[in-house]
Amino acid sequence: MREIRYIKAITEALSEEMARDEDVFIIGEDVGGPGGAFGATRGLLETFGDRRVKDTPISESAIVGLATGAAISGLRPVAEIMFADFLAVCMDQIVNQMAKTRYMFGGMYTMPVVIRTSCGGGLNAGPQHSQCLEAWFAHVPGLKVVMPSTPYDVKGLLKSAIRDDNPVLFFEHKALYAMKGEIPDGEYLVPIGKADVKRPGKDVSVVATSRMVHQALEAAKVLSGEGIDTEVIDLRTISPLDKETILQSVEKTSRLVIAHEAVKAFGIGAEIAAMVCEEMIDRLDAPVTRVGAPFVPTPFNLENLYLPNAGDVAAAVRNVMEF
């Protein structure tokens, strides 16, 4: 095992997969020479050359469209859209083209595209550079949506995403880029579609994503001092959703809290809550409770009021325990 930063784990995953498969190439703004806005692709141009690491003009639709066409022709593009907020600029190419190509052409093509993007707040980047938009894409059949929370998970999931024959929206939380964690020395993969119980517990299930996984773990420590044993589940993949892990946990605890940084209203927590109620309402001892950001755009300098944190998770847990 060795320690590595989240951002570097991404670079390693890209490098390993490009070395392994000739058809993998990288495309995006500033990915080549500058090594990416956050440094995720640093060194890859030097290693693999400009045939395989393509810097583009500021043209998100062209980037995603090119990736779609290249995938139709059998290549395996890894496109970078600098900020998740910019996905809105190329929505047609993602939702109407990339997501539907396989289905509407009767299975003629596979679409092995990965769109890597940075999401989330905490850097005072303001309303147009801080959003968590996984719910938009989880709602589109044909897309897969992944949100890793640790260096171990980000490397393993990115490798899996590149090897997956389907379009994957890969959301990296920008506040986690500097995070350090342990990874094994050799080759390993983390499967898409499988959640991870980061902390087992018996009193309440907390399903969390991305940065909120760490907030949930912190809350669990505090709650343990109050005699509440919290189970923290890191979804890792939003879509396809690992229903089994969630349901098994709720079967055990009878209480569910869902924590995501995205705006609470209409977020993925709503889907999970509805699903759990549909599948096992009679195992619940309290309402399914969600923790998420308030229904406002991300404020530039009021993030401490806006971003959900460990305290919010702990409060939600206490509420369901006392119900």
Binding site: A62, G65, L66, M104
Partner: protein, 318 residues
Amino acid sequence: MENKEKFLEILYLMVKIRRVEERIDNLFAQGKIPGFLHVSIGQEAIAAGVCSCLDAEDSILTTHRGHGQALAKGMDLNRFMAEIYGRKDGCCKGKSGSMHIASKEDGVVGSNGIVGGGLPISLGTAFASMYRGEKNVTVCFFGDGASNQGTFHEALNLAALWNLPIVFCCENNGWAQFTSQKRYMKLENISKRAEAYGMPGVTVDGSDVLTVRGEAEKAVARARAGEGPTLLECKTRRWAGHYVGDPQKYRSPDDTREAKEHDPIARFAAFLMESKYIGPAHMDALETKVKSEIDEAVAFAEGSPVAAADELFTDVYA
């Protein structure tokens, strides 16, 4: 310039496209075809002229008005017709219909229902050819309306920057859905925009198939030689409405009448007869042949069932 075989093939394609479009227009009126249909009657010369320059390994991307191009590229009429009907033996198992006709083996990458949606995708097929060191060309068909989408700008800029082997073929029929060109852009010739991106652009009379083919050949050769993209604007006329059933209240009857005075088939047939490539009986024989092919295709389509219910869930993910 060209051999007789090629000319006859082109004539055949144009007649086939015309009669197919007329037939499905008719079938639609009978209620046999679900969804929306957009026929390309009057614009056959562009499909036939351009696609006759391409090989099977070359790719075309086309639009909601793309039946002619798909057929001209060589796709099987039976599978085409069954797809129009929405049946399981269609090229896309009946799941795409008119607006998303595709055929991988014929290089018909796919028709797009989003105006301008195919332009960025054509970058990808062209890029893949270059990436692999191949010499395949991509032709992206689009209409005058699409030239105002942001994707047009992004695609032409990047294609020129990277020297991608693409021919951007604009079928300018003067109408973006229900709005005439004069009312949505100041520029008259869309090919002028090519200069803005650093690529050559040319405007031709889209009802003269030989001129279209001539320019298309040049553009395809450029692309294949690695010299980059071309914007080829073919001015043509849309004989019918935007969609089948469109009463065209927004269009003056004079305009429609004027459009029909430009018949690319009549023009080419006249040329061929004058040049003695064909005799008077040729047209009749051709019409008979095309009709029987269409009859067979319709019978094939009508004999094919709609896909089974579980087909609903296939091909969402690989």
